[in-house]
């Protein structure tokens, strides 16, 4: 059964080009069936009517698939619940009277735009370096021409489930985008369609990752724990193998 709880929020507020700081707000009479973002909606409505600018946070589908939402809640990306985006985290997991610290995803490569909103366009830039198969519309052969082992298709799908939220980067002490990048590299390394561009893809994507200030992987595994879609850390091992092959082998 749902009940109502009160919380004390410590929320990171920051304007463009300025230093940020924490502000304290009370979240009152929050229904435990509400989602975390709905709790923020309620707080924002109150702030608005008090003449305080509402907290800016990114969100869209609120079904856990678009990858827009995400903040660090009490030190954990997307909050405390395993394999859950912030929009799918419900208030029943909080205690009445609890303090809740809400910060943006922090990483060198994710500058804060405003309050809880950060710039994750670096992830798009990594994809632009080869996170696709270069096939023009109209070129494709009949879909059933190349059979693909079911296990390979499933493994590729496991990697392809990444929603690009950036939690892995924020959770990593080095601010690395290895899990994100490796998921895309793996998807195409596992499928025959990705093979012609395999070597070039991994080299270019890794180079871009480094260029944008994402850190290195030092096997902390925080990324995999933080991932709302359960992307496996083994993908990073696969990326490393692909990278070594691309640089040392003859392709």
């Amino acid at each position: 059964m749902s009940k109502q709880i009160n919380l004390t929020l410590k929320v990171w507020r920051q304007n463009r080009g300025e230093e940020g700081k924490f502000e304290t707000y009370e979240a009152k009479n929050i229904d435990t069936d509400a989602s975390f973002l709905e709790m923020l909606d309620v707080v924002n409505d109150e702030l608005t009517l008090k003449g305080i600018e509402p907290i800016a946070f990114e969100h869209d589908c609120r079904e856990g698939i678009c990858g827009c939402c995400g903040s660090t809640v009490n030190g954990k990306t997307h909050g405390s619940h395993e394999r859950t985006t912030l929009c799918q985290l419900h208030m029943r997991h909080f205690e009445d009277g609890q303090n809740v610290v809400i910060e943006p995803f922090r990483a060198t490569a994710f500058p804060v735009i405003k309050d809880l909103i950060v710039d994750r366009s670096g992830l798009d830039e990594i994809i632009a370096e080869g996170g696709y198969v270069s096939v023009k519309t109209g070129n494709a052969p009949e879909a059933s021409t190349t059979p693909i082992k079911k296990e390979m298709a499933e493994a590729a799908m496991d990697a392809a489930e990444c929603i690009g939220c950036g939690a892995c980067v924020a959770a990593c002490p080095n601010g690395s985008a290895m899990l994100f990048t490796s998921a895309k590299v793996s998807q195409y390394a596992l499928l025959p369609q990705g093979h012609p561009e395999r070597a070039q893809r991994v080299k270019n994507m890794v180079a871009k990752m480094d260029e944008l200030g994402f850190g290195n992987c030092s096997n902390e595994y925080e990324c995999a724990v933080s991932c709302p879609k359960g992307i496996d850390v083994k993908n990073i091992a696969r990326l490393n193998r692909e990278f070594i092959k691309a640089n040392l082998g003859k392709n």
């Binding site: 709905e38 198969v133 059979p147 799908m157 998807q187 195409y188």
Partner: protein, 637 residues
């Protein structure tokens, strides 16, 4: 305004091929001289932008999201239809065409639907080549599943995330073209007006959502791929930012709006549970394969489900529609749920829910089989409601999901405003009055990958499009109007939030223009909407400034458009005094309470022309002719 659908001559199956040959082409060297603006980066927008860039056009693509990959196409679960006939069950392009026309309750344009069916197979070929990990069988070949409204298995899928995988494929294609320099991508940019010069769409006004800066962009043609208007109801399964603004501004600049009353209400969503609720979540239609829908026989029976004995339960769909049972089409399942709740037999804390019960299926198949089939959906339900659907029946209620209406387009997907195109959910053409499951993804990609890249050339090659420059007075006027509107919203400084007004409007529409509509309710809504709109402009509170990231202002600007759009939607519903597909007019039903179409009077597309907000819009009727699929009344008894 004179609407010409430009349906090509010749037999149905040859129209598209003939048309592609007959349209004028732009030679490769000239293509790079043409700039095309694409608004939106979902399935339709991303695929169109990528493909037009591959052809050599200079494409500028805009999205209000931080990345093109966020578009709401990503949330589609079930799958994408194609007439591959891999299961050898008698499918064909003709059958897919036939099912879609019939499923749309005979309110779509046959020639467009046939082309859609033709493109469906190429879409699958292309998506496989892109490396989309579709589900496969052990032999390595592609797997199919069944969906509503068809007797063949023609739905391709990637787990419960088909929309995500197809969108990421289109996003990959778009990224490839961005890298190559063919597409200039604008993220966190919201297009807030279309600029018209000498009767042609010649550009847009865009607002940078980080700095608030308004910018002018000139183009030879503008393509809107901005999705549907479901969020006019406030609560829907659409993403929070989905809006009708670009389409609505286009309408106000001269593009006709067709069939705005056609909205799809999906029967299996998680019910509303509180005032604070921001959106509704869909549970896949596939659940109705094994779940049994029921409510108590007695009104106001508040006992927990497991304490209501079998003979005091009403499995109303099985009772009323013995041959289709729980698998009746979406519109019927939704209407019946509303009916039993209106009778006071709804369940749950609000009384606006019905049970979807798996007890019988678990007993018959075993829990493991149910876990394998629906495990992820049960987990999602549990996460949201904190209830265990293996032991307690799920509660579901219908919710707004998709809009079949949209900007009127001809066969080339050009609106009635020359140079302005509308693709994907944004246009009206393919689904008639009801969309079948797994057809939205098909249409978005058909329009983007295969149709518009082959039709836009006809306009560009046959019209003289001279450079105008963004200092043209039409750009200045549009920018000033946009700035004035933003300033006006900020200046009201009233006592109610934007959401508060949006909820009031949404609830009115849901009650009076939702699953059941009647003349009295629609007229009442037409009286109330202008009052809500007036109150909005007098008492809304939009904090912050226009030269900053200001989400309340973004929302207010969109809701202001919904306040106007809602009136047209209700007018259209009032005009259409027949029941068809998702539009159920209570005055037009059979003796048994089923929807009754009126082909004598309403076999047309209702396209509205703007005449100023204070004046009545003009209704243009595009007669629908059915050469191939004969008009029949649907029955699921």
């Amino acid at each position: 305004m004179k609407l010409d659908a430009k349906i090509p001559e010749g037999p149905m199956a040859e129209k598209w091929t003939n048309h592609k040959f007959k349209v004028k082409l732009v030679n490769p060297a000239n293509k790079r001289k043409h700039k095309v603006i694409v608004v939106g980066s979902g399935l339709a927008g991303a695929s169109a932008a990528a493909t037009m860039s591959e052809l050599g056009y200079k494409v500028h693509c805009f999205t209000y999201s931080d990345s093109p990959r966020r578009a709401h196409s990503i949330a589609a679960q079930g799958g994408i239809n194609a007439a591959k006939n891999y299961p050898n069950d008698g499918d064909s392009i003709y059958r897919l065409f036939y099912d879609t026309v019939k499923g749309g309750d005979f309110r779509s344009r046959e020639a467009n639907v046939h082309r859609l069916a033709e493109c469906s197979n190429q879409i699958i070929d292309h998506c496989v080549a892109q490396g989309i990990p579709f589900a496969r069988e052990y032999g390595g070949y592609l797997d199919n599943r069944s969906f509503g409204g068809a007797q063949v298995s023609r739905t391709f899928y990637a787990r419960g995330q088909t929309g995500q995988q197809l969108l990421l494929g289109a996003y990959g294609a778009l990224s490839k073209e961005i890298k190559k320099g063919g597409v200039t991508m604008y993220t966190r940019e919201e297009v807030i007006d279309v600029v018209v010069i000498d009767g042609q769409a010649r550009g847009i006004i865009s607002r940078n959502l980080v700095t608030g800066e308004l910018t002018r962009h000139e183009a030879d043609a503008v393509v809107l791929a901005t999705g549907g208007y479901g969020n006019v109801f406030f609560l829907s399964t659409n993403a929070m930012n989905c809006n009708a603004s670009a389409a609505w501004r286009a309408y106000k600049k001269g593009a006709a709006f067709a069939n705005p009353c056609y909205t799809q209400i999906h029967p299996t969503c998680i019910p509303v549970h509180g005032e604070y609720q921001s959106k509704l979540t869909l549970m896949s239609e596939s659940l109705r394969n094994d779940g049994r829908i029921w409510v108590p026989k007695a009104k106001g029976d508040k006992r927990p489900a497991n304490q209501i004995p079998e003979d005091e339960r009403d499995y109303y769909l099985e009772r009323k529609y013995p041959s289709f049972g729980n698998l009746v089409p979406r519109d019927l399942a939704s209407r019946n749920a509303k009916q039993v709740c209106d009778e006071g037999r709804g369940v749950g804390p609000t009384g606006n829910a019905v049970y979807l019960d798996f007890a019988e299926a678990i007993e018959r198949l075993g829990k493991d089989a149910i876990v394998a089939k629906y495990g992820n959906l049960f987990e999602m339900y549990n996460r949201i409601t904190d209830e265990d659907p293996y032991t307690t029946p799920m509660m579901i209620y219908p919710a707004v999901h998709y809009t079949m209406g949209g900007l009127w387009v001809d066969y080339n997907l050009m609106t009635s405003l020359p140079g302005l195109y509308a693709i994907g959910e944004c246009n009206f053409s393919d689904h008639g009055a009801n969309r079948l499951g797994a057809s939205a993804l098909m249409q978005g990609l058909a329009d983007g990958y295969f149709v518009i890249p082959n039709t836009i050339n006809d306009y560009l090659a046959s019209n003289k499009i001279t450079p105008v420059g963004t200092d043209h007075e039409a750009f200045a006027e549009a920018e000033k109007a946009a700035q004035d509107k933003l300033d006006k919203l900020l200046a009201v400084n009233g006592s109610r939030t934007v959401d508060d007004f949006h909820k009031e409007l949404g609830l009115l529409l849901w009650e009076n223009c939702g699953m059941g509509r009647n003349e009295k309710g629609l007229k009442e809504a037409l009286e109330k909407i202008p009052k809500i709109r007036e109150a909005f402009w007098k008492d809304v509170n939009v904090p912050g400034s226009a030269d900053d990231l200001n989400q309340a202002l973004e929302k207010a600007n969109r809701v202001a458009d919904f306040m106007e759009f809602a009136e047209l939607m209700v007018k259209d519903a009032l005009m259409r005094a027949e029941s068809c597909g998702g539009h159920f007019r209570e005055e037009s039903q059979t003796e048994e309470g089923e929807a009754l179409r009126n082909d004598e009077e309403f076999c047309f597309v209702g396209a509205w022309e703007f005449q100023g907000l204070e004046n009545e819009p003009i209704l243009h009727k595009e007669a629908l002719e059915f050469e191939e699929v004969h008009l029949t009344q649907r029955s699921y008894k």
